[in-house]
């Protein structure tokens, strides 16, 4: 058995989309902005969702903790917005990361408390290696609704295990029925609430205070408190025995918006990355229930956070990204890639697994058919390519130049780049076509690109994920 007193957080990763929309954009469009305390918020690109953001945070946590995905024997994923209402997202997340196929996987959803629930579950998990907790979210609502004005995006991930620099020393939970403060109807994508201000505040305050009262948190340096907007946490501060500054020091809501199940995880990530020692976590989920926990970071926690903004959107561009003003999938139908065909290529799509020819040593991508070099009909040896390649040829596809599978993406995000990039492994090079994400749609021939996981497209209701690439230095 492990030393329980050192069971806790070993490394931290976080991610938020680079796209931002400012509160003023909403105020200009609507006459007022309905989410207090939010200055700007993060907006997922058309090809981002909770799973891709979760991967971004998870790979950073692994890298920060100098851990290999193969060491992960417990994987938890928390979100109120799984890309599919039914279908286990942890299977694909695990595949993106390359965790073992016998890793225990658990999904936490249905509540903004899912992130803290996942963290608690990781502490309970029987692991020989490390547990990886990933919380990612991107809530949305009706355009006029306050929940929508607040809705942001982001993800945080933690490596959890024994002998941690930041053990979790105490935790508690508290529940009390408060129906209606925030909910999503079955089949709906939009968060809503009954919007009775005093009742909403009471539910938030009483449940959180109940949980925080039950933990031994003596004057924390920072408090990672659930932030449905930038005002509510401070209205509950007194009931939790906190001052506003303790909450504000690690708050992310003012820059990222409401990150729902990732709200407390993101604030915790920020607190640990900033070197705070005693951190109180306080997660809230409507219904209502709350989790409280205490982290004592007496050593510094390895952290890799990529949560800064890059590109400012107008409100119209924001609506395009949300899909509020775009049409659906075009009609047509040719060049079909069946789901079983896609499945066979998943190691390549998710992790760039190329093949080495056992006869001549050349690389093939995808690793199938005759060797591209010696033309022998061989069984290729799997070779995982590095994340970074070099642009060999490139175009930027304008509106109308895209295959119809990408028409909706074009409507949402506009022009995109497509490069052929070469990747090297053991002195051999192999090339593949990759869509370019990020602000720089058209890197030059010779530029370096790094691959990322994004949605490729959706057909027959099935989301296909794969690698795209980002120009190096374009975060």
């Amino acid at each position: 058995m492990t030393d329980d007193s050192r069971e806790g957080i070993r490394a931290v990763g976080a991610y938020a989309p680079r796209l931002r929309v400012a509160a003023e954009e909403f105020a200009e469009a609507w006459g007022s902005f309905e989410a207090s305390g939010i200055e700007e918020k993060a907006v997922p690109e058309a090809d981002e969702d909770a799973l891709t953001m979760g991967w971004e945070a998870a790979r950073r946590a692994l890298a920060a903790g100098d851990a290999d995905a193969a060491e992960v024997d417990w994987l938890g994923f928390a979100t109120t917005n799984p890309p599919m209402a039914e279908e286990d997202p942890t299977v694909r997340l695990g595949s993106f990361l390359g965790v073992a196929d016998d890793t225990t996987r658990q999904t936490f959803t249905g509540s903004t408390r899912a992130g803290t629930r996942a963290l608690f579950a990781a502490l309970e998990a029987e692991t020989d290696g490390v547990a990886l907790v990933v919380a990612a979210d991107c809530p949305q609502g009706e355009p006029s609704d306050a929940h929508e004005h607040a809705a942001g995006a982001g993800a945080a991930a933690f490596l959890v295990g024994p002998d941690a620099p930041a053990p979790i020393t105490d935790r508690a939970e508290h529940a009390e029925p408060y129906p209606g403060t925030r909910f999503r109807r079955a089949g709906s994508e939009d968060v809503e609430g009954i919007d009775v201000t005093s009742y909403d505040r009471e539910a938030f305050r009483e449940t959180l205070a109940g949980a925080v009262d039950a933990v031994d948190a003596d004057d924390p340096d920072a408090a990672a408190v659930q932030a449905p907007d930038g005002g509510l946490p401070y209205r509950a501060a007194g009931a939790m025995g906190l001052d506003n500054g303790t909450i504000h020091t690690c708050a992310t809501v003012q820059e990222l918006g409401d990150t729902a199940a990732a709200s407390v995880p993101l604030s915790l990530a920020k607190a640990l990355a900033d070197g705070h020692e005693t951190v109180l976590g306080a997660g809230y989920g409507s219904g209502g229930g709350a989790d409280a926990f205490v982290v004592e970071a007496d050593e510094s926690v390895p952290a890799d956070l990529a949560i800064d903004g890059g590109t400012d959107l107008t409100y119209a561009e924001y609506l395009r990204r949300r899909g509020d003003v775009t049409s659906g999938e075009p009609n047509g139908g040719a060049a079909y890639v069946s789901v079983p065909t896609w499945k066979r290529s998943i190691p390549q799509r998710h992790r760039l697994v190329a093949g080495r020819c056992p006869e001549c040593g050349s690389l093939a991508f995808p690793p199938e058919g005759a060797c591209p070099d010696c033309r022998s009909l061989v069984e290729f040896e799997p070779v995982e390519l590095p994340d970074t390649g070099e642009v060999e040829a490139v175009t930027a596809v304008s509106r109308g130049g895209e295959p119809p599978e990408f028409a909706v993406q074009q409507q949402k995000s506009g022009e995109y780049g497509v490069a052929i990039a070469a990747f090297e492994a053991d002195g051999e090079s192999v090339s593949m076509p990759l869509q370019i994400v990020g602000a720089e749609t058209s890197p030059d021939v010779g530029d370096a690109v790094a691959t990322v996981i994004r949605r490729i497209y959706k057909q027959e209701g099935v989301i296909r994920y794969g690698r795209k690439a980002r120009a190096e230095g374009d975060e």
Partner: protein, 393 residues
């Protein structure tokens, strides 16, 4: 082996024809081809037919060959549909030559047809990409405009090729197409027009891309044993060459050449006993402006680094040293995918038989056609010469 001869060739107008079907266009091309045979030809003389088509829109994906030949009264004979994307009917001509050279047929109809403009914009874009490598290339978000744009990016980087040079391809081909009554975009364009058009896939703009087209083309081939029944002025199929390559650009060794074109040209030149210096004109596959520049070097007309200047200097204009795409090419004449290769042979026939009207070259003797499928997964090259050729010449 017996020689094969081009005894007639004809095409429909190229363009957008809501009132026509793939069968009615085929009939027009067939009738024009028959009418072009100097001493006439009867339907029952045709021993075999080959039909190139991709089947854009999915209208008759199975058995499109018999579906068009029956429409002109050719049912009964062997008919084969050839699919090699945009090189479909270049390959149907090659297959016709093979049938004749093997001795299995004396007269072959080699043809192609495509209707592309009666389907929605979305649907046609589904179809335009179907000959790209589907699983990786297309799903990176490219159709052919994007793939050829990638080649252009590399060509510019390696050889200093410019947008202006690419635009010269459009200017030249439109100048020629304006003199071709069958052309879809039969108007001239200025260099400014061709420079300032909206971008489709950077660095390619609208004037660097061919249109989508309805059209049909038909070529009549005869063996040396029967050619004198049809003409006193035969045109010999001097050389035929074809080649293939990896379907996806990313899987090839070069992005600034089309190796399948090089294989095809080498084989055609070798069979013909001619080289690029012997040509009086060439019809090349200019689906995108960069494709014409790559064709120059793949066919040995110039070195790759000279390709941009080769067009900009006017050498490939009608009055230049090596006229290319006197028909207007795919850019101006149009690109009805399955009909394009046979349509190129129609221009070779017209030039070599002195029937090219306002765009007629002065007494050409040897001409070449070059037809590419997709971004270079398949290519086929023919060399034609006036006269009986070889020992008979």
């Amino acid at each position: 082996m017996r020689d094969a001869y081009l005894i007639g060739a004809g095409q429909s107008d190229y363009g957008s024809f809501p009132g026509e079907s793939y069968r009615s266009l085929f009939r027009t091309a067939f009738e024009n081809a028959c009418d072009s045979v100097p001493d006439g030809i009867e339907t029952e003389d045709v021993d075999e037919a080959v039909v190139g088509t991709l089947g854009v829109g999915g209208r008759q994906l199975g058995l499109p060959g018999p579906a068009v030949t029956e429409h002109v009264g050719l049912h009964g004979i062997p008919v084969t549909r050839v699919e090699n994307a945009c090189a479909a009917s270049g390959y149907s001509v090659r297959q016709g030559v093979q049938a004749i050279r093997s001795g299995m047929a004396d007269v072959v109809l080699a043809s192609g047809v495509e209707i592309m403009t009666d389907v929605s914009g979305d649907a046609v874009r589904y179809w335009l990409g179907v000959s790209g490598e589907t699983e990786w290339e297309r799903l990176s978000g490219t159709t052919f405009a994007g793939v050829y744009a990638q080649m252009a990016s590399r060509h510019m980087q390696e050889y200093g090729t410019t947008r202006e040079q690419l635009s010269h391809v459009a200017v030249k081909n439109h100048e020629n197409g304006a003199k071709n009554p069958h052309a879809q975009l039969g108007f001239e364009c200025s260099l400014e027009d061709a420079m300032d058009a909206p971008t489709v896939a950077d660095p390619l703009n609208l004037y660097h891309c061919c249109p989508t087209t309805d059209g049909a083309a038909a070529v009549l081939l005869a063996s040396e044993d029967v050619v004198e029944n049809y003409t006193d002025d035969p045109i010999r199929v001097a050389g035929v060459g074809a080649g293939s390559d990896r379907v996806g650009l990313f899987q090839r060794d070069t992005y600034t050449a089309v190796p399948a074109s090089q294989y095809a040209a080498d084989r055609a030149y070798e069979m013909a006993g001619y080289g690029p210096d012997d040509l009086d004109f060439a019809e090349v596959h200019d689906c995108f402006a960069i494709a014409e520049l790559m064709a120059y070097s793949d066919l040995g007309l110039c070195d790759p680094e000279e390709a941009g200047e080769f067009v900009a200097s006017g050498k490939t204009k009608r009055d230049g040293e090596m006229p290319v795409n006197t028909s207007g090419g795919l850019k101006s004449k149009g690109h009805p995918i399955g009909a394009t290769g046979a349509g190129q042979v129609v221009e070779a026939f017209k030039q070599l038989s002195g029937q090219a009207g306002e765009r007629q070259l002065e007494d050409p003797q040897v001409g070449l056609t070059h037809n590419v499928g997709g971004s270079g997964g398949a290519a086929v090259v023919h060399v034609f010469e006036r006269g009986m050729g070889g020992d008979a010449a």
